[in-house]
Symmetry: C2
Subunit: 285 residues, 2 copies
């Protein structure tokens, strides 16, 4: 595994690979690797000849009151973890190299980026799209692997790729969970032991909702189901609902009734300090 | 020369060319070809193995009160003209194929797109960047040739390419002029014979400014020179100045003094009906 930190060096290498006819996969990350990241790398390894894992804590997708400074970073730790996954390059550019003086371009995906996380994080998905486009260019990847954990991000990226006719395939990978059911997230490192237990309400809400949907004899009202979930979450000490919605998995528009393409999608804050998201399909096709 | 109208067909062909190791050049146009377009095609032919000329009157870059409906179109005429230039593909996609239902992505270049034409045409350069990005993807070009006639457009595109790390080279081609000096433009077809003579004030302003700058013994004040040009233009019957500025050719910021990288850049309206632009370097390096 090679560590590359300069965009021009990354592009020179992927130019070379492209000329050789190598198939390139990209796994974009913000580092502080957990089993979810490693699963994405493993998936990428199966799909391509060369695997680039990018590690960039992107200032462009953090709001002014968010956790950019606090976001966990440890390049040595991440290098050791990534090295276990047989990747070719860990690509960790600097902020100065990604956004040099004079940088002024922004990519905006309108409707899909507006609600859910977009409502409380204005500009977040613009920052995501713009940096992801840069990483696509720098890696010259044929495919990129994204986790379903960030479901709205996945939908927004797929839309950008389609709208801009990018010749890169987007591979979605299911959320990896801890044994308890808690969705893996670098932000879990902010949680104290007690809070980790409180955070399980997200997974328990998914399980309960699924059982209810699968037991129902007629399509359930999404609004009623969301209301129940919100009520249950707010009964957990320290948990505040940011949103709980049941949406169409492609358009991210609210469903009236739960259907086969419905997705439960949630964001909560624990002790007004740690923001967590989770999502899941409610009906198996 | 092959006519292609479907994006997927275009991508399939450029995929094939890429696999063969062919170097691809793109010439993006809105059609109604004149000698300026043909010169861009000729230039592209010298730079690449395969030349794609796109012809798309892009609704995304026209304002609601602009000349989208009136813009001259004649595919057969353009096919005959392009065929003389030994290009490989004339690519003329439909609006429905370029912007299918659900399309919602926008690329914005901030500072460079703000003043000059951007001031009177809000959203224009967003529309340009977005469609150009799509054409870059569809053509999978190694290089694209743009005319200096649309100087701000060229600066904005160069910035987008740099900011998004696109692996495409931008080749700038000097403005082609009629024998009279009038810059070639598809919009010249809107001009009556008398108006063509009035439009020459743009070229005459360039010549006069150049003479003044080259004769000066110390750097001239850009503001004073612009003021003189504006006064001269407004003396021509039916001509109204939209802007006359002397800017740095890279940043497009106003110059205080005329220097080697200064560019005179102008937009006027003739009889409040035809909008014309022109620009030129004032000092030879």
């Amino acid at each position: 595994m090679k560590l590359i930190q300069k965009p021009l060096e990354m592009i020179a290498l992927t130019d070379h690979w492209r000329k050789q006819g190598q198939k390139i996969a990209l796994v974009p990350t913000m580092g502080w690797f957990h089993a979810g990241h490693l699963a994405l790398m493993h998936k990428a390894r199966q799909c391509a000849d060369k695997v680039v894992v990018s590690l960039f804590v992107n200032p462009g997708q953090f709001g002014p009151d968010e956790d950019l400074a606090a976001y966990p970073r440890d390049l040595n730790r991440d290098m050791q973890l990534a090295a276990q996954e047989d990747i070719d390059v860990l690509y960790a550019p600097s902020v100065a190299d990604m956004y040099p003086a004079g940088f002024q371009t922004n990519i905006h995906v309108a409707e899909l980026g507006r609600g859910l996380c977009g409502a409380s994080r204005p500009g977040h998905f613009d920052g995501v799209c713009t940096v992801v486009m840069k990483l696509f260019s720098q890696s010259q990847a044929h495919l990129a692997v994204f986790g379903e954990k960030d479901f709205q991000q996945l939908a927004v990226i797929k839309r950008m790729v389609r709208d801009l006719d990018l010749t890169i395939a987007i591979v979605a990978y299911p959320t990896v969970r801890e044994e308890s059911g808690l969705a893996m997230s670098s932000r879990n490192s902010y949680l104290l032991e007690d809070e980790k237990k409180q955070a399980l309400i997200l997974y328990h809400s998914i399980i309960a909702a699924r059982e209810k949907v699968q037991a129902a004899t007629a399509p359930l009202s999404a609004a009623v189901l969301c209301q129940e979930i919100k009520k249950n979450i707010s009964q957990i000490s320290g948990c505040v609902v940011e949103y709980v919605e049941i949406v169409d998995a492609d358009s991210l528009e609210s469903c009236k009734k739960v259907h086969e393409n419905s997705r439960l999608i949630m964001a909560i804050k624990i002790h007004d300090r740690v923001r967590l998201i989770d999502n899941a399909r409610l009906l198996e096709v």
